[in-house]
Symmetry: D2
């Protein structure tokens, strides 16, 4: 198997660590660069004892720098940087011929105006924003294959879009009145020294946050709109739960008048018949985050509530794997012609 | 302060233990009887080391038996028995002049037909069902005061009804399309030897269950309908989360056309101005289960999403306190003329 | 009941919060001052939603200042300040006639030289150090009653001293070769923004720390030495476990040659026959932190291993209650002549 | 790579699941049989959703039966059965030419009398007991290579023996007065419907158990004695902590008079220089279970406490991987000539 030289920028956050975990075992990837301002000069295995003694983990972290990344000979760079920082790396890397897989939100929106609405400032690189491919392998593998820059979908969006897209494309749902509740493990909040993320503040705690207009809405509604062929506005409430990782999403949407509820299951099955990481659990089945934690799977169940005329869609994924690092590597596999599942049969 | 003799039937489950915890410290209650088939003959403090050396905990558990309970001189009996079992105790106790506060679902519905629809069998005592008062102290204190039997509300219903009732009464919400998501700590599933409730099956796990027609729906819709003055059908999805206790509920409902969103906050404030255990956090505030755990408080926040025309209602309570034992004792306080908060300033 | 005006300095840490939780419900205490640099000007119930709507929690936090504390008329001040900071408050308060109950380590050692050895600098106030009473109510109630300054014992020391002191006093154990392992919940590490205390860094984690010479050793060995009548050197290893609160301590010590193992249980029983918060579980019983969490109890069990000639002592307590705030209030009760258990029947 | 046909008996417990997780990804193993009385007839991926859609997981569980296992053509059988049950399978499988890797305690002791002392009955097959090799790959790879039956070490023993054996062999420690404290995640207690293992009974709980003479002592002392060349009696206290998996072990032992403490680190380094799964963290380093969870690593640190003349040894492992399934597969790799690490680079 050929080996592609890869870099990970921002490798010390939870998404960065997950990328390292996967890439160190990926037979088609050679990790040549991992950046971390904080840990520059120290070896991966020294900073993260989990990686100690693992082949490849003797690599030292380096300081973040576009030129330095390109100079390592990296053919692909995963950007696990904070929102707003990725965009300052992307252009230079793309120009240097490095394929960019960005895990931040910087290149996920098509419309710079929406970006500005949600992020409060003009997009720094609208041309690259336009070029970037929304890297959901289940729906965009063709575009991913030839992309120079891939915007890997967000964790909440992945758990919401995968169940909804097939039904919206099939015209089964009313686009008004869709209500989405998601809950995420604490890795979703990032690895930062913040009192509210301390063990004792999260343990025995469940709380909503980011209401009523979470930033991920922009990305979710963009993709739902594309699937439905019309603008979609949803009610979305994220929550924090005391898990290390995992997202549990519950969607309630009205079946379009006259539509046959049985088509819900069928639409999902047709959409994902050949998707290695989407597991359809069937009707009245409830996905559980514990079955997908640390894997690249997303589990999906559904139900029909005839009392209210509503369809229930339920999904579970690991926010740092399928919702971040794993999905990025999946796109990488598509981009470089590897088997889709290479490095991702993680159980 | 006068002391009322009280019994707790089914005192070894999580709700039973909570009742013991509160009643052992309640200045107006004298615990004279605690039943548990499993632990009969052993002292409270021996079975539950938490109570060891606490005044009152030298009482032994006794076997369950209506006559034996009445013979202890108990003036009030809390029934923390499984659904379907309470009803076999209630009649005998009521006839013996013992005030009954039932924490099961046996007496919560007005309509025996709805009971049969949800519980799969005819109600064993429709007359008593008719007589029973739905014991939510914030809304029924007048009826509670004179009741012979009180059906203490369920844990999910409490977290859903308290935020919704004032808005439905004020006619602020469309009654169609209300979507409720709740998540409960594991005590909510009871203290039973079941593989699915083991630590390793619940830790790092979040999952929906009981879809699409959870039994609590019957009780919730009955009370919502009463508040709205018309039938209400909601979409309700309960989830299990790795907390010992706590319920986090998120409700999305459409504001009635032309209604002023500012009235949402006002309606809540008017309804609960004198409710000692309802805490209104205000607009865009997100309640957190950790702030109410082991207390009798329910915390409520709300938001207005103009993009979708929907109101968001958020609540947090402790399922075994406000959602069970605490609410039962609150009703007991009302019934026997104690201060509402007696024994319930638990922090 | 008379009410003593009390202040809590450093009221926003985990120990401070626990003091507030207890004192707000203590019938003999009137909270007149709570200091917090960070939250000055904001009300208790606003900063800590748990206290919202609780009588007394409308008090605002004030900035830390000895003169300001004294000016509130406080008759007693609990210092829940970091080590090294308490000592800068104590002298001024004592001189102003305010009784000081210090929960830091600043005044726990008798010998300034030992302080310097363990804390790396000269003690700032050796006279006050000499005057301070080591405030373990089970053993020092006489001295506490007349003290001007009380050094409340540390969390680990409490869990270690209570089981060992009676046996050392009775001469039952060899003083050499005592091995102590303790594990603490994460509140023990304080409420500070530190990556290593994040939920995702502590969940699914157990680790020793502070080896081989934890600062608490100085205090532990001082008191063990006093009990034994000779110098005692122990091997002590603290660990961090994913609990909010709770300390689980396991002690292994050699029975002195010829001593009767049955005397172990008897010595414990005699020592604590009238101690309301020490619960002796008996031989071969294992205390569980869950039975003491949020209470002021310490549970103690013991075993005799004839194969090795060693005695096993096991204890469990809540590190922020019996190990901190509860023990401080216990001393306060003794000091001001309240019933020992006032405000501390927390279940 | 050749592929060896393997069976897993008792595949539905936590150890069994771990074996499945590893073997399904092991390039040299072909899973031909997985037994479970409870789930016979249902597919692996159906019973354990984690395995759904994973190649190999379409295999159905079968009922337990020696003949049936042999008939599948299995060349090796992992026995993840309860203690006392394994021995009823082993003889038949060995006679049928199937290599047995037993993960129960049935064949770990050399001496039938010790077995009887600890397990309360005569060993059912003393000849096979005598033949069985104690399968610790770091110390017995030569014997493993030619064994017919391998007794895979227990989880606690592994975490205790690996740090102690090199020091005892080097004669660095006094064999008297060794004190071991271990804490295990809840998977260590098995997957059984038992009230004491419920989420709400283990969360916020830490407790010792099995004192003063845990069954694993027999195995630990046997191997320590072999290393020391003399009988060794230790004080061992196991604890349960709220982790899914992980063992954290802390050992205190007296350095032999005159021995150089620096030799401790050196003895460890020499012993494990070529051991792929033993990671030596060095002096004063504290292993953390979170760094080894779900991996086959054991992390070891040590310290020298000159105040007491004692050496501290600290280790962390995952009880179901290095302490069970992973170690069993490690032995399998040695037995069948695979690279030691095949299938075990799990991060």
């Amino acid at each position: 198997m050929k080996r592609v030289k890869v870099a990970v920028a921002g490798a010390s956050g939870y998404t960065g660590q997950e990328l390292l975990r996967i890439l160190l075992r990926h037979r088609g990837a050679e990790l040549v660069c991992a950046t971390s301002r904080q840990y520059a000069g120290r070896r991966l295995g020294e900073v993260f004892p989990r990686f100690r003694q693992v082949p490849g983990a003797e690599l030292p972290f380096t300081d973040s720098d576009v030129r330095a990344i390109a100079a390592t000979g990296a053919e692909a760079a995963f950007l696990a940087l904070p929102h707003g920082v990725s965009s300052s790396y992307a252009r230079g890397l793309v120009d240097a011929g490095v394929k960019v897989i960005d895990l931040s939100a910087d290149f996920r929106l098509n419309d710079p105006a929406v970006y500005e609405e949600y992020y409060g400032k003009a997009h720094p690189d609208p041309d690259l924003l336009k070029e970037a491919v929304y890297g959901m392998p289940e729906w965009r593998s063709g575009e991913i294959r030839t992309a120079r820059i891939i915007a890997s979908p967000g964790c909440y969006p992945t758990s919401i879009l995968l169940p909804l897209i097939p039904l919206l494309r099939a015209g089964l749902l009313r686009t008004k009145g869709i209500v989405v509740n998601s809950a995420s493990g604490v890795t979703g909040a990032g690895r930062k020294a913040d009192i509210s993320l301390l063990f004792c503040e999260c343990n025995e705690s469940m709380r909503a946050y980011g209401i009523p207009k979470h930033r991920h809405l922009s990305e979710i509604e963009q993709e739902l709109g594309a699937a439905a062929g019309e603008a979609v506005r949803i009610s979305f409430t994220p929550h924090l739960v005391p898990l290390n990782s995992g997202i549990c999403t519950t969607i309630s949407a009205e079946l379009r008048e006259g539509a046959d509820p049985a088509l819900v299951g069928r639409a999902l099955e047709e959409a994902y018949a050949r998707a290695p990481f989407v597991r359809l659990l069937g009707r009245n089945a409830c996905p559980d985050t514990k079955n997908v934690s640390r894997t690249n799977f997303v589990d999906i169940g559904w139900a029909w509530d005839e009392r209210t005329g509503r369809v229930l869609l339920l999904s579970a994924e690991d926010n740092v794997v399928k919702g971040a690092g794993g999905q990025g590597v999946h796109a990488f596999n598509v981009l470089f012609g590897f088997d889709e599942t290479e490095g991702l049969w993680i159980l």
